[in-house]
């Protein structure tokens, strides 16, 4: 599949999921991701549910849309910054503070109206925004913008950004790069100096020891800071449409995001997800996990065992053994939560709220609460228990 084709497919999938168009479910080359709840649903009494149900987090969701202050309902990214919430939308960068939204646009100096990714420099409080037209730093209201024309940024389409110490790591449509904030030097990483075959870098997760890149079509790249060594992880079977060797490597080479937490790598792809502890891989597919879909836009690890998966069919939480899925029902849109225990038993949990849409693009944590970026608004999940 050519890169342009892939992009087109991704966009079609987005439109389909938002209801803008109707498509058969095979559009992205995967089998229809039938929710596990439909195949393994158990009918159980309320008493039995309470007795056997794994204790998974329950949320009450408040949803923000253009009706209550968001500049756009397509929310690509979300970032929690203390009491402030940043939402990267298709039409500006919105910040929620003191119960009110403020939006930064290109008139304020934002690189582009479509904000794809966000990262917080916890030391300085500065927010970095990756957009469709460059990289912007928002520092106490001032916006400094870096583009491929005015700086060493490799490409203006910035899919991912991650801050580590004095370095800002950037995933772009033409390779990855690093901005050294001390020296102002840009270093580019692409097919000329890394094992990257495709240069469409979708995600980056940086720590002082390792930096991981999720590359669309080129697997996961690992950069070891101390040695400058590059390693590459690919789908060992090399098959796009099937999985021959499930836990023997990365689930698929079309990687949409990476999250490196507690020395564990979580990687999402459009064909399932992976966890890597430095020695062993463990993969997740709808057929043998609680994932609601193999098409995963992003993953965010909580720690070595827990992670959140943002899929096109709902938000999934994995606690190391059990799964929970939060979404409006695919048919009818009624709020829905399901729990899948370690044995594969799936139970519906009665809920009255759900994320704004089942097409989930991003998540961040505010204490026990979660903030969820969806294709039809931003959702605040208040932890109930």
């Amino acid at each position: 599949m050519m890169r342009g084709d892939r992009k087109l497919v991704w966009m079609i999938a987005l439109l389909a999921s938002t209801g803008a168009i109707s498509l058969p479910v095979f559009v992205v080359g995967q089998k229809a991701a039938t929710p596990a709840v439909a195949t393994k649903a158990h009918t159980a009494s309320a008493a039995k549910q309470n007795e056997e149900l794994p204790k998974m987090p329950l949320f009450r969701f408040d949803n923000f849309t253009t009706a209550n202050g968001l500049p756009d309902n397509h929310v690509y990214s979300v970032l929690v910054d203390g009491d402030r919430i940043w939402a990267g939308t298709e039409n500006g960068l919105a910040v929620y503070e003191n119960h009110a939204w403020k939006t930064y646009t290109t008139k304020d100096g934002l690189a582009h109206r479509a904000v794809l990714s966000l990262a917080l420099d916890k030391r300085t409080g500065d927010v970095w925004a990756g957009t469709m037209g460059g990289l912007s730093r928002i520092s106490a209201g001032r916006i400094d913008t870096y583009t491929q024309m005015n700086s060493g940024l490799s490409n203006d389409v910035v899919y991912g950004v991650s801050v580590e110490g004095e370095n800002v790591w950037v995933a772009t449509a033409a390779g990855a790069c690093r901005l050294d904030l001390r020296t102002g030097q840009w270093t580019l990483y692409n097919e000329r100096n890394t094992p990257m075959i495709e240069i469409w870098v979708y995600g980056v997760s940086a720590t002082p020891t390792k930096v991981y890149f999720g590359v669309w079509g080129s697997g996961v790249l690992e950069y070891t800071q101390a040695t400058g060594r590059w390693d590459k992880y690919e789908d060992p079977d090399g098959e796009t449409e099937m999985v021959l060797f499930k836990d023997q490597g990365l689930i698929h080479e079309i990687v949409s995001s990476v999250s490196y937490v507690d020395n564990i790598l979580w990687a999402s792809t459009y064909f399932g997800d992976s966890r890597y502890d430095g020695r062993y891989w463990h993969n997740f597919l709808t057929k043998d996990s609680g994932l609601p879909s193999n098409f995963t836009n992003s993953v965010k690890g909580v720690d070595a065992n827990r992670a959140w998966f943002c899929t096109d069919k709902g938000l999934a939480y994995y606690d190391g053994a059990n799964w929970a899925v939060y979404r409006p029902a695919l048919a009818g849109g009624k709020p829905e939560m399901t729990v899948r225990d370690a044995k594969g038993h799936v139970t519906r949990v009665a809920v009255s709220t759900a994320p704004a849409h089942n097409y989930i693009l991003g998540i961040d944590f505010q204490g026990d609460d979660i903030w969820v970026a969806t294709a039809k608004g931003l959702s605040h999940g208040f932890r109930q228990h």
């Binding site: 300085t124 409080g125 730093r137 106490a140 001032r142 024309m149 030097q185 580019l188 000329r192």
Partner: protein, 646 residues
């Protein structure tokens, strides 16, 4: 030595050469070039005088001592605050610029701007007890009241370094404005206010970035969290210096330059070059408001230091270009800004009659007054006259200088010192409006583009350039029209800039020597051992290449190293590099030197390139400014990395 070098000896020779140079072209050029060069050798070597150049003053917490930061002698002079007797000279690092006390007064911190270090001085022993590395060109410094952090403004790296106050270890850097330079701790200790001397770059590309009013800011730092919490915009301001608060913290004031670089400088006599202003902020004024210091027929050129009396009745401001201190009645000032509807812009800068409402005295002091300090009882205001090596003691009751303390009593005034005094003086311009240093702040540049010539609005816009290490970079001006510095600084300046008074020959020769001997500040992008990084080496190869990536020869005149040749990076010739605008008289432009090019944005003759990258990504479509369109992004980055080492 002094006999030969004495100011008047060689000046007479040079003056005679100048005076007799009117007839023949050669007669003009040769004496101008040769004589100053001879004088420079004498002045910089044999005639070296270790002036003190007091820049900042600070009383000890008990008021018994006065700490004087002496920039040229690179010392802190500790004086008895009553008798001004010398207690001790403490040697610090290169070109010190900022000074601050710890909250307990047991440590005195000094920034050494050319060494990129901070000296920590034990105020008991009066010795340097530690030297810590910080960012590029550390300037202002403050200690937070909890003794946890030191905050250091780095002028070249445009940030504020946060250091552990005990160990000096740098914890992080906060983004400041461009040329971050001065820091002030709010009276309650909760916030630190940072100012910067160059305007912030435009964040949006509109095609008219070089013709829009400059924007500056006050960066407000949360002292406890050590993060930037707010930025107070300063519209149309470029050049922001010291900041002060009333004791209760309800009134803040910052001194600044308000350049009028969008109109031709020919309008100087209409007030068209600068306003010198202050911006007031805080609960006493509500929204920030800008008010002028200038009078109807007399400018308050180059304000630098500011202090508010303890009872908040008076405000004092040093005027570096006017050799004076302004005294302002704060009550009348507040009445002026609060008792009438304000302009929508929040600025009274255009109202030259405004200052008569609140300026109550203009007190003449020495050359280039900078830092000031009020005694605890409020009766004495001390002013550091940087280019006189004196401290003026002003009686705040009479608003007159009651005494002058000489720091270097025995030293003669030599050529360089007179030249520097001329450079910083606004005496020669119409109504004392501008001096060289109005645009060449601290002998550098101002980050602005100017419409200098009287050829119409918007014609021949030119970027301001760095003055350091100019020998061997002639001719001057972007059109290469001035063959040497005497021409550049003499008739041209007198005719187009000052519009009032010319230099006499001796003064021009002094100025010429000073400008030609300005040292080049350290390059911050080179490795300490002088070697190049791998990226810089690759960039150097691109700079020097003669074949493009497709194996085709690059014509000699299209190789970077042809026009930017020699140690200074200039062939001293003019070329058409395809950057002519419809408003330019010619497409031929002088090849600028590359010395410290990384710090001199914007670029190109008219400042239309905000960054070095834009020179080639936007303004070189036909490869006339070197063969660059074959380069990959990686290679262009390498080229930029190399240029930053020049």
């Amino acid at each position: 030595m002094i006999v030969l070098l004495s100011h008047y000896g060689w000046r007479r020779v040079f003056a005679a050469a100048l005076a007799g140079s009117g007839a023949l072209l050669l007669g003009i050029v040769l004496p101008m070039v040769i004589r100053p060069a001879q004088a420079e050798r004498r002045s910089t070597n044999e005639d070296f005088v270790n002036y003190a150049s007091p820049l900042e003053l600070l009383f000890s917490p008990d008021g018994s001592r006065l700490y004087v930061l002496c920039q040229q002698s690179q010392q802190v002079r500790v004086l008895d605050a009553s008798s001004f007797a010398l207690i001790k000279n403490i040697a610090v690092g290169g070109v010190p610029r900022g000074i601050a006390l710890s909250s307990k007064g047991d440590r005195l911190y000094v920034t050494n701007s050319w060494d990129d270090t901070v000296s920590a001085i034990d105020t008991g022993a009066l010795d340097v007890v530690a030297t810590w590395h910080v960012g590029a060109e550390p300037s202002g410094i403050v200690a937070d009241p909890n003794a946890a952090h030191l905050f250091v403004a780095n002028r070249v790296s445009d940030d504020v370094a946060v250091l552990n106050a005990q160990t000096g270890e740098e914890e992080k850097r906060l983004a400041g404005g461009r040329g971050t330079s001065y820091l002030t701790l709010a009276p309650d200790g909760g916030k630190i206010y940072a100012t910067h001397i160059y305007p912030n770059p435009s964040s949006r590309r509109t095609g008219l970035e070089n013709r829009t009013a400059p924007e500056s800011e006050i960066s407000v730092i949360d002292a406890k969290r050590a993060t930037v919490m707010d930025r107070i915009p300063l519209h149309s301001i470029a050049g922001v210096f010291h900041l002060a608060f009333s004791r209760d913290g309800r009134l803040g004031v910052v001194v600044e330059y308000h350049p009028k670089n969008l109109v031709p400088l020919a309008h100087l006599e209409h007030g068209g070059a600068f306003a010198y202003t202050i911006t007031l902020f805080g609960t006493m004024v509500g929204k920030p408001v800008e008010v002028p210091l200038d009078e109807l027929d007399r400018y308050a050129s180059q304000p630098f230091g500011v202090a508010i009396s303890y009872d908040s009745s008076r405000m004092y401001i040093t005027l570096g270009g006017s050799d004076a201190v302004l005294a302002i009645d704060v009550r009348r000032l507040l009445n002026f800004v609060n008792a009438r509807p304000r302009p929508a812009s929040g600025s009274y800068a255009a109202d030259l009659s405004a200052s008569s409402n609140y300026v109550i005295a203009r007190i003449p002091v020495g050359h280039n007054p900078r830092g000031l300090a009020l005694s605890a009882d409020g009766r004495r205001l001390l002013v550091a006259n940087r280019l006189d090596d004196t401290i003026s003691v002003i009686d705040t009751n009479t608003l007159r200088v009651s005494a002058t303390v000489e720091l270097n009593r025995q030293e003669p005034v030599n050529v360089l010192r007179r030249g520097e005094q001329t450079f910083y003086s606004a005496h020669y311009s119409f109504q004392g409006q501008i001096g060289c240093s109005s645009c060449h702040i601290d002998s550098t540049f101002d980050g602005l583009t100017w419409d200098l010539e009287p050829d119409g609005f918007g014609v021949d816009i030119v970027d301001n350039r760095l003055l350091e290490d100019l020998r061997g970079t002639e001719p001057f001006k972007w059109n290469g029209g001035n063959p040497n510095i005497p021409t550049e600084c003499g008739p041209r300046t007198e005719k187009y800039f000052w519009r009032s008074e010319n230099y006499d020959d001796l003064t021009l020769s002094d100025l010429t020597v000073y400008v030609r001997t300005m040292r080049l500040r350290p390059n911050r992008w080179r490795l300490p051992n002088g070697e190049l990084t791998a990226a810089q080496e690759r960039g150097k190869a691109i700079f020097e290449r003669s074949v493009d990536r497709f194996g085709k020869p690059i014509t000699v005149e299209n190789q970077c190293s042809y026009c930017h040749s020699g140690p200074k990076g200039t062939s001293q010739k003019s070329f058409d590099v395809g950057t002519r605008k419809a408003t330019d008289e010619s497409g031929l432009f002088d090849t600028p030197q590359l010395a410290n090019v990384a710090m001199t944005a914007p670029y190109l003759h008219d400042g239309s390139a905000r960054t070095m990258e834009e020179i080639w990504t936007i303004f070189n479509p036909a490869d006339k400014h070197g063969r660059t369109n074959d380069l990959t992004k990686d290679e262009l980055n390498d080229l930029v990395e190399y240029l930053r080492t020049r």
